[in-house]
Amino acid sequence: MAETRYSKDHEYIRIEGDLGTIGISDYAQSQLGDVVFVELPVVGKALAKGGEAAVVESVKAASEVYAPVSGEVVEVNGELEAAPGTVNEDPAGKGWFLKLRIKDASELDALMSEAEYQNYVKSL
């Protein structure tokens, strides 16, 4: 069972070995409204923890998606180009943004667990 951790900016990272799948939480997609476009990084790009990883656009706003941990982009979800609405429909599943080779696993410790994140969202 892959573990999922969350950042305060509402990104999730699902950890499988040294790979992390990154997307935005269900709460984030509901706050954004209808997603109309996702701009993804190029495969091979080195991302720094907290650096801009992608951009998600809804009808009236554009938000940066930050890398919850450092690493190299190994895959991006090309399906989102034609169907950005997938981010709204299935944020934790088919609506993933990118896969990252995690550079430093200890950076994961600063992120929230599922339960911690749910409490965090309730506090907002």
Binding site: V36, F37, E39, V42, V55, E57, K60, A61, A62, E64
Partner: protein, 446 residues
Amino acid sequence: MRYLPLTETDREDMLARIGVSDIDALFSDVPAGKLLKAPLDLPRAKGELEVERILGRMAGKNIAASAVPFFVGAGAYKHHVPATVDHLIQRSEFLTSYTPYQPEIAQGTLQYLFEFQTQVAALTGMEVANASMYDGSTGTGEAVLMAHRVTRRRKAVLSGGLHPHYAAVVETLSEMANDEVVALEADVTGSEDILSQIDDSVSCVVVQSPDVFGNLRDLKPIAEKAHAHGALLIAVFTEVVSLGAVTPPGAQDADIVVGEGQSIGNALNFGGPYVGLFAAKSKYIRQMPGRLCGETVDSAGQRGFVLTLSTREQHIRRDKATSNICTNSGLCVLAFTIHMTLLGQAGLTRLAEVNHANAVKLADLIAGVKGVSVLNESFFNEFTVKLPKPAAAVVEALAGKGVLGGVPVSRLMPDAGLDDLLLVAATEVNSDDDRAAFAKALSEVL
């Protein structure tokens, strides 16, 4: 809202930040003798009639474009604009229109922007056009930046047939962004080898047709080679009327088409304001600069217009915007759209034919002047003439005889060693008498 002017401390902070000692240092590249040391010696007051007389006398020292046979082009063209255009654009709703971000009160503005975009897309043979840029040159600079965003490369190759002012704008913008520009040598005959410049490091190739020397360029092989290397072709024009006669760049597989629309609906306007046309393949729409107007339906299902895809723009994307252009040439666009609507497709074709025919007649006539040759194998309404002496002096002498004969190449490219070349433009406003006067004056001054 209070208006808070800068304090002395604000000024000092700003000067310190950019590393200059005082305000005067900001004007250091103005030649010393040209900088006023004291206010102009103007009288405190004069009557309106007297002021009109004085200024009228001063203006009378100029030779007005409409007063003499006029063959000056090189990016700004004298065409006939129907009186209807000027009358309609002066309606206060249009003249004072503000940014149409509130569609519920800006349907008129939005609709003409939409019509304009439709016209530009049709003219250029492209899928999507924006609501205009400031002018052709800044549009070209923006097109290069857009190509860099699309390809994620940062090197532009500029044809030697690109108008030098357009190239200069690209170079200025690129310099500030640390992007690479490869500008080819001036290409008088349109025969440069631009294909060999294209490799996997190139983001875009910028080619003008008709080029600054008037030559028509075949864009298709350039598009093919560019695409084979993952680069984009940016097709440029300075004379939009040419699109009534030549194969549009879209049909030659250009990725971005950008140019000057001044010829339609707009006077020479002392060099500006003008109207930049900007069109692209729809797959690149999100990387386009400027405003885009779209058609939609309201809650009652009625057709309406809105600015769309605004998340590209700086009021939403801030520093991540595709461009810091957040405006468009609204009134010039309206003039363009009204004139184009009056012409229609058949009218534009006819206008283009008359322009070309007039240019052919003129070329034949002046090629008959002793010592003069026309260099072009192809042209639309502008061509390059080789003279037996420096063109700048010839143009001055022609002006003395009441003919404005064209633009010396040396004025656009002072260091290119092309001082004996003259760019000559002909439009529908030139009559047989104008052409005869030009040929006669030319034979007298040579």
